[in-house]
């Protein structure tokens, strides 16, 4: 508990660092909101008009003044207004987030449901043809880019079965669960396939390590069956690397999956951030990056807590 509070106390510090980085980075990119908004026509503006617009957006001030005003706003719960959407940043981000979260959760479920059994199977049939088969598939899964796999899935379904992935207006889970799932299942499979391949490989190597550990030999010397050795003695010890990998992958997915969102025309966080960067929508980029960083930290914290639950040797908050 004490540890949890101390970890949470470090969050603001990290977020402060992230905020400075993203704030400076986006301003180092040439161009500004005005050119991004008006395109070539921005060249037609008189200096007076330009100054007026700059003053309107607040980008006429030195960067530290801008930063100060932005941070001050955040402390009062105001993340600023998105130039492109004309709405509060937090509203825009929170509107996109459920889809991204759902997609990440679905992908992880697929990855674990496929990857864990495949990895365990390969480890217990090590160096046999079936192990080789699993390893080859996992290698393919890891090395296939998501746009190839995504397009392949769409093409196969439409050309082979005449089925088109459900497109159109995105339906949130709580409004129309069936339609929502039909929209998300293919993107989740596309993302989950590569994820599952990583899980398979890491689960296989972790299980192989653990199966040669002394305590597995002890379990066998007690007369434990092959099944009990695998599920009761080996698996719990092999979970740590799987949790580490899943946590990192999940954290990335929470930042949005630009390519898959693009292929399946999904309004997720990834495309939104990309658009915001292209549009020099400073407030939206800064706000969403902070949000993504916060989520990543939460996932990391959950991973650390999972370690403690899995392995009694790990004690948090001790040196």
């Amino acid at each position: 508990m004490n540890y949890l509070l101390r970890r949470l106390a470090t969050f603001p510090l990290v977020l402060l660092g992230v905020s400075v980085l993203v704030f400076v980075a986006i301003r180092m990119v040439p161009g500004d909101s005005i050119t991004a908004m008006l395109g070539t026509e921005a060249g037609l503006l008189t200096p007076a008009q330009r100054d007026a617009l700059a003053a309107y957006f607040g980008i006429d001030q030195p960067w530290f003044v801008q930063y100060w005003r932005w941070i001050g706003g955040i402390l009062r719960g105001n993340f600023g207004i998105s130039v492109t959407y004309g709405r509060p940043v937090l509203d825009v981000v929170l509107e996109r987030f459920p889809l991204t979260l759902e997609l990440a959760v679905l992908s992880m479920i697929i990855a674990l449901a496929v990857g864990m059994p495949a990895g365990i199977y390969a480890a217990t049939h090590s160096e046999k043809p079936s192990d080789l088969g699993v390893r080859v598939i996992a290698m393919i899964g890891q090395s296939t880019p998501s746009f190839v796999l995504g397009l392949l899935i769409i093409y196969t379904l439409s050309a082979g079965f005449g089925v088109l992935p459900a497109m159109g207006e995105f339906a949130p889970l709580w409004q129309d669960p069936l339609r929502n799932l039909s929209q998300l299942i293919l993107p989740a499979v596309t993302l989950g396939f590569a994820f599952a391949a990583s899980v398979t490989r890491i689960a296989r190597s972790a299980m192989l390590d653990v199966l040669s550990d002394d305590y597995v030999r002890t379990a066998r010397s007690k007369g434990a069956s092959a099944r009990s050795v695998i599920w009761r003695h080996a698996l719990p010890n092999a979970l740590i690397p799987v949790v580490t990998l899943s946590g990192i992958e999940f954290g990335y997915l929470l930042g949005g999956a630009v390519i898959v969102e693009q292929i399946y025309a999904l309004p997720g966080l990834g495309r939104m951030v990309l658009d915001a960067i292209l549009q020099r929508d400073y407030a939206l980029v800064q706000g969403s990056v902070l949000f993504i960083a916060f989520n990543f930290m939460i996932v990391n914290l959950l991973v650390d807590l999972a370690y403690v639950a899995l392995d009694p040797r790990i004690r948090l908050g001790e040196q």
Binding site: S221, K222, A224, H233, P236
Partner: protein, 580 residues
């Protein structure tokens, strides 16, 4: 009468073609009910493979039984050939009729399960017990191996118990279902000598209580003297000699058995100490190393921001001096502070207090007069460097250049430590453990040091290799006038190399003096206990006493200072800390 286990012509091989890679080549022995057979051999002799073949665990390590038979007399009196058993049949026999304990108790228990759950598993598997019945059976099993406060300990996970305690838990698991055969594969090798004595005592008592038969695998023929009825000596996968204990120890027939009994260091209560290097010969010389009031404390903090609430007093006021050409052995059990002392001398840990003075006796001595040889020769040589680079490392580290002179020094040192001259371009993996330790010694000597710290330098080596490396160390000491600080837990080795011995307990020296005097007439109660625990060939069938006392905690409150030591002298060079 039909023996419990009758092994005949057992052959075990590894790899794709097991018949071509046989590690055990035709082993035969009979084991009667209630009998103890000791299998003695060095690493690679096939003793552990033989043990793992009996309960067919070898199947999981890539081994295959290629010939012979192993007939086990089952509980119902029928004979069963273990070499022909299927895996499901074996799961019914393992744990129920054959129990096994292993060398490393620290890694042999599942780290994520409580020890209670791990003991209960045996009862679930073979007795069908569940729930409260299984828990209470597990508690009885812990009581049986004399673990105090068993009910509470059931909920512990392995990381909360010491090595000795974990080995007791392993014994509890192995004996849970009263197997008639216990296979013990080097069960005390990883343990301190005092803990070893307790485990041996426990095994002896349990054997008397249950009447089980035991196969005891060990590299230490001295340990066998205390427990075995019969002994089998193995070398290169074959039994070179087997027979009754007394006959084999007193009238060894095979040269290898004689070698194990005579050439290998065995503890002889101070009768085998070195005769050279009398202290008074050096009178008037400055000590090579003088340590004054060495204190090493590690502060304990509850978190980064808070102040230290206490400290681990790893080393708490140690003084000694070491003359040129002399070996001072520091003995003690794990956690006593002996390695911390060595590291402090080398500056590898910061000492809290205390001073060192190191004498560089001649102008030829280098700027780094203290060098070190570590315990594990497999881990302490960088596998990516050639021997030449490894030997050049200390020269480069001190700002020297590797020139023709350095290369000549390398070649002559290699020759001096007994390695072929063409070794320079080879890599560490091409050498055996003993050769690697010779390399480490050569590396330590590259800078022409006056003091060499040897931290368990021969502990990882096979017994006959140990003897040769010790000989080399003694020769080098005479030739170069080296002073050795020899850290070890192995009294037999210490006896061969030490001129003086310092016994360290809970961070303090409790007894220091001439080796022969300390080993033959220990005065401090801890030294007595330590020496009594060392197995020897002379004391056969001796019953070790069960003693569950533990070393006191070294954690002290902030600002704690130990009471100043009072010393009592026995003879000219033998000081004992007054107990109080």
């Amino acid at each position: 009468m039909i023996p419990l286990l009758s092994v005949s012509g057992l052959r075990v091989g590894f790899g794709r073609d097991p018949r071509a890679n046989e590690v055990v080549r035709g082993i035969s022995f009979d084991l009667a009910d209630g009998e103890t057979l000791a299998i003695v051999g060095e690493s690679g002799s096939g003793k552990s493979v033989t043990a793992l073949s009996i309960n067919r665990l070898i199947d999981f390590s890539g081994g295959r039984i290629t010939g012979g038979s192993m007939k086990l007399k089952r509980a119902d009196g029928s004979l069963f050939d273990l070499t022909k058993a299927s895996e499901p049949q074996m799961t019914g026999i393992r744990g129920a009729e054959i129990g096994m304990i292993f060398q490393e108790p620290m890694t042999s228990l599942n780290p994520v399960l409580t020890i209670g759950a791990q003991i209960e598993e045996s009862f679930r598997l073979h007795r069908g017990l569940t729930g409260r019945q299984a828990t209470s059976a597990a508690k009885d099993a812990l009581d049986r191996v004399r673990i105090p406060d068993a009910a509470r300990r059931l909920k512990y996970t392995p990381n909360q118990l010491s090595g000795g305690m974990l080995q007791r838990v392993m014994i509890a698991i192995a004996l849970a279902c009263n197997p008639r055969l216990l296979i013990a594969d080097e069960p005390t090798t990883a343990l301190d000598v005092t803990v070893q004595a307790q485990i041996m005592a426990l095994l002896g008592e349990l054997k008397r209580e249950t009447g089980m038969s035991v196969i005891f695998i060990t590299h230490d023929i001295g340990l066998v003297a205390g427990i075995a009825d019969k002994v089998m000596v193995m070398q290169n996968g074959q039994a070179v000699e087997q027979g009754e204990l007394n006959q084999l120890l007193d009238r060894p027939g095979h040269p290898y058995t004689r070698h194990l009994l005579r050439d290998v260091p065995h503890f002889a209560n101070g009768r085998a100490t070195r005769a050279d290097g009398k202290r008074d010969e050096n009178a008037g010389m400055n000590p090579a190393l003088k340590v004054d009031g060495l204190v090493v404390r590690f502060p304990l903090k509850s978190n980064v921001f808070s102040r230290a609430t206490g400290a681990v007093h790893a080393v708490d006021g140690i003084d000694f001096d070491l003359m040129p050409g002399e070996t001072l052995a520091i003995v003690g059990e794990s956690g006593s502070g002996k390695s911390t002392t060595a590291k402090a001398v080398l500056g590898l840990v910061r000492s809290t207090r205390g001073s060192f003075s190191i004498e560089t006796n001649s102008a030829a001595r280098s700027a780094r007069p203290v060098q070190m040889v570590f315990q594990n020769p497999y881990a302490s040589l960088n596998p990516r460097l050639t021997i030449e680079s490894i030997l050049a490392e200390p020269v480069i580290a001190t700002g020297g250049r590797v020139d023709a002179g350095t290369k000549a020094a390398m070649a002559s040192l290699l020759e001096r430590v007994g390695l072929p001259a063409n070794s320079l371009q080879r890599y560490p993996h091409e050498f055996s453990g003993g050769q690697r330790q010779r390399l480490c010694i050569a590396r330590a000597l590259m800078l022409n040091p006056s003091v060499v710290v040897l931290d368990e330098a021969v502990s990882a080596l096979d017994v006959s290799v140990q003897a040769k490396v010790l000989e080399l160390l003694v020769d080098l000491q005479r030739e170069f006038g080296l002073a050795y600080l020899f850290i070890s837990h192995d009294m037999a080795v210490v006896e061969r190399i030490a001129h003086r011995i310092a016994v360290i307990y809970a961070g303090q020296i409790v007894e220091i003096g001439k080796a022969a005097s300390v080993l033959s007439q220990p005065r401090h109660s801890y030294t007595k206990k330590l020496i009594a625990a060392v197995p020897t060939i002379d004391r056969r069938r001796e019953r070790f006493e069960l003693d569950t006392r533990q070393m006191p905690s070294l954690v002290r409150p902030q600002g704690f200072e130990p009471a100043p030591a009072r010393w009592e002298a026995f003879g000219e060079d033998h000081m004992v800390r007054v107990e109080g």
